[in-house]
Assembly symmetry: C3
Amino acid sequence: MALIRNEVFSCFVFYAVLLLVKMYIIAIITGQVRLRKKAFANPEDALRHGGLQFHREDPYVERCRRAHTNDMENIFPFLFLGAVYSLTGPSITVARLHFLIFFLCRVLHSIAYLFALRAPTRSVSYSLAQIPCFSMAVQILMAVSTYA
Amino acid sequence: MALIRNEVFSCFVFYAVLLLVKMYIIAIITGQVRLRKKAFANPEDALRHGGLQFHREDPYVERCRRAHTNDMENIFPFLFLGAVYSLTGPSITVARLHFLIFFLCRVLHSIAYLFALRAPTRSVSYSLAQIPCFSMAVQILMAVSTYA
Amino acid sequence: MALIRNEVFSCFVFYAVLLLVKMYIIAIITGQVRLRKKAFANPEDALRHGGLQFHREDPYVERCRRAHTNDMENIFPFLFLGAVYSLTGPSITVARLHFLIFFLCRVLHSIAYLFALRAPTRSVSYSLAQIPCFSMAVQILMAVSTYA
């Protein structure tokens, strides 16, 4: 259990879990929008909520889906990179900066997606969030290249 | 290699790997349905199997795809939460209960999806599976908040 | 930090990070194709790049999306299986073979997808990449079954 008492690893886990909770919230929002707009992906759900005519797509449901998919494409790799980066022994100040930038940019990304904020808010927050990820990837590759 | 000899971590890994195998099986089923129904996502696959008219969508292939995507949205976060939760030193009885509920609900979710069982079987199994995930997320946040 | 000095774990991390970088590159390509073909998933992006008529789908953008989704379905499970497999104490030669086969087949898979190579290049590389994954899954289940 030494890992969980490591300051950098704990800091990483804190932001990582908050980001997963953020993803769960997007899933809950998607479900609520499906119910409110009566737009179901499956005929069996439509049947339960009024009839097969509600087995249909809705632009806002699709927007929620895209926000969720983009999170999977970016937050899941962060879970791996952040965990391994924590093992390479970075300073807590530098590490926290990596995690915090990623966290804040991904929260902004979700807000920009769900509220359809004017471009390029969403793509700028996506791009900024990638900087700590590329940085961690490079530092990990340098750390393991001695052993790999 | 002390981690792999930890009872809680081993219990988690056991169910986690079975769930990944379950996901691989859904991918195999999707491929078989594509071949049987002749519905290919890529023109080069359609050309090999009879012609470009088979570059088309099929409702049951799309159902398999949705089951797979829902698994990614839920099982991948479990892989992270379960691993970190195991490091926080929970009792094996409580931990096994978390993993087992998630495992059984996600297997039921896949069955409900692939056999189009009457609503709300699928959404109830999805919601029940989220309970151990939220529980683990809260326990992890409490464990790291001392150090983060 | 003993983990990162473990030869098998370092070898795994090396290929895992390269595969994540490969996924980031596919995301960058998707964005570039969207700009070049003027095909945007969101109306706010289309508005910024010429008008709502560019809020549309494009076959090559969809191809990039499918390549990315297939990577999520396969590379993310590898991140988990490879990490846990490294903890089971395999020989470095056998482990490296697992990681290398997966790595090379997934790179070939992306090339076959993005260049629409003749079938069954893409599906063969997908299937070959699954062999080390199934092998690691079985070895992990055998390793933890003593403790689970």
